[in-house]
Symmetry: C2
């Protein structure tokens, strides 16, 4: 939900009139009755009247066609590889901003939907892993003897990976984090996890890893395959928006793992970090279960919405001047997140 | 699985020959190849040869009919209200022991399947709750603001309840425990949770609560209803084997809760602690979701089996003397857990 009751108040305080589609927030835990001082209408009326449309996922073609030329769309518009959608935004003369395109600078943090939604995804991925694993995560001491803690490995130490590590640690698992960017070591260790050392570094730019050379990948994979033999649960989180997810876990590696081991592939949406991953499916291979859950933040809609709605509001403040929409394209955050404006494509993949 | 590879070694060391049904342990994470020095056969051959049959749940009628008169059956035989099964055990002249019937004394702890399986159930119930809740359990501080931790209440502070409390605490929720037995306060507090005070005490015997009077129940329920308005997640664990689960949460109480709140009813097998619970189902009522999961230990089969198999072995030691089966009925643990022997019913409900 792009506007929560809390954020509706803030928008109102900026002089903005709010029109909500009936029941738009209900599934996320925000019934219409929770909103004060907003108007409700059906979807068609909302689209016909909106100067600014705040959304979570890209509106469908029919919805875009109902918006007035010159209106502004703000949301996660998934522009990568979506040339048909971009063409429609341009043709409809909409000014559209995709929050995934914000540069990852300090000033952009308060509107960084990739971070806020990745935190939810990392937390939920580890809960799903703990629930699906045939083993306990924590050590358990009972009158019938001691149960050893599970060994958990998180691959990729971005926001999602770090949240997954934190959750595994909270649950009492013996937790390791791995990332090709050596500068993540400190963050992994600060969560009480061990940083897995495979002897390959791929420090990149913009906070993402660079692609590895073929030799580097081979060395990384051999060391990883050996290590995986002792692991009970893997959560993979290596994804760069708009690019296919790097294949880190091969079928051969999975075959070397213990029966009963579990992989939760958070990069399933981009094809997966494991070559056996089927997006949205449960796969069993050589006694190892591989889950490829999709749209994980939707599983914790209330808190995911609270963070997302704050991101949208904070971005909205860049567009508003004295209660009127006036995007300043000299602002890097406005310029870089713009997909379409005044009949032109502004997005470069 | 009643015999794990680790326990198979221990049985062998006591001079016992072990015959396993092919693939009996596979689903729990113990493939046949994991066992050393045991024999494998099909189910019929196992039953025809067994002097002692170790099982997890009661064998079905056909299986019981294949056992030789005088053989011993050890497992969770669920004798309460199962007069037909008891009659068959007697008619087949089987000596049967149901581990749920063990007195809850210090000496019996190492074979107490209720405790070991309740620990698994409590842990898993809270994971299911965390995954199904629309809210984060932990507090989360992000650039887009702070997410408040969930408020979790666990009703019933036995082994399952305490494990549920520990798991909620690990996950960072603001956790409360409630039990009518005031002596549980210290245990709840030792896990870092708050003990919920409703002004009703029902200290009972044998470690279980006594039944409350009508007035006491009314006072308890009114105070509870008021308190529940602020709670995000409830896990209920109030169950006494062989009795219907006490109805603690009424429909009216559920209706007073916040939309998006969640109840996981661990007592679903005995009818549930919430009057809206449907065993094995998901129910939604006034915006509150009520889950009634069944057989929770089976969801963590590897560790549940490790503990269960140790319980069975420890009990088996009471029956074995120099490698031969010779139950000593003067031993309280043997006598009290016996369901049938020498053509007689030994179990009194």
């Amino acid at each position: 939900m792009a506007i929560t009751p809390e954020m509706a108040k803030k928008w109102r305080a900026r002089g903005v009139r709010i029109l909500l589609q009936h029941d738009a927030g209900r599934a996320a835990g925000f019934p219409d009755a929770a909103y004060a001082d907003v108007e409700f209408a059906d979807a068609a009326a909302v689209l016909a009247q909106a100067d600014l449309l705040a959304c979570v996922l890209p509106p469908d073609d029919a919805a875009l066609a109902q918006l007035r030329p010159g209106s502004v769309v703000v949301g996660q518009l998934r522009p990568h590889g979506a040339s048909a959608r971009i063409a429609q935004l341009v043709d409809a003369r909409l000014t559209s901003f995709s929050l995934e395109l914000l540069p990852r600078t300090t000033r952009a943090q308060a509107m960084d939907v990739l971070s806020s939604q990745a935190a939810v995804a990392g937390y939920r991925a580890m809960l799903i892993a703990a629930e699906a694993s045939p083993k306990f995560f924590p050590m358990l001491t009972t009158a019938a003897g001691t149960i050893r803690p599970s060994k958990v490995l998180v691959i990729g130490a971005g926001v999602a990976g770090l949240q997954a590590i934190a959750t595994a640690r909270r649950l009492g698992a013996q937790t390791e984090g791995y990332d090709v960017r050596p500068e993540t070591r400190e963050q992994v260790e600060s969560l009480g996890a061990k940083f897995l050392e495979l002897g390959v570094s791929a420090a990149g730019s913009g906070g993402y890893a660079r692609e590895l050379s073929a030799e580097e990948r081979a060395a990384q994979q051999q060391a990883l395959a050996e290590h995986l033999k002792s692991i009970d649960v893997i959560v993979t989180t290596a994804a760069v928006p708009g690019r296919p997810a790097p294949k880190i876990l091969s079928a051969a590696m999975v075959e070397g793992m213990k029966p009963g081991a579990l992989i939760v592939d958070l990069a399933a949406e981009g094809g997966g970090n494991c070559e056996l991953t089927q997006p949205g499916q449960r796969v069993e291979h050589a006694g190892v279960v591989i889950l490829g859950p999709l749209n994980l933040p939707a599983g914790a809609p209330l808190h995911a919405s609270e963070m997302y709605a704050r991101n949208v509001f904070n971005f909205g403040e860049l567009l508003l001047h004295d209660g009127a929409l006036a995007p300043d394209f000299n602002d890097e955050l406005v310029a870089k997140s713009c997909v379409s404006h005044a009949g032109e494509v502004r997005f470069t993949a």
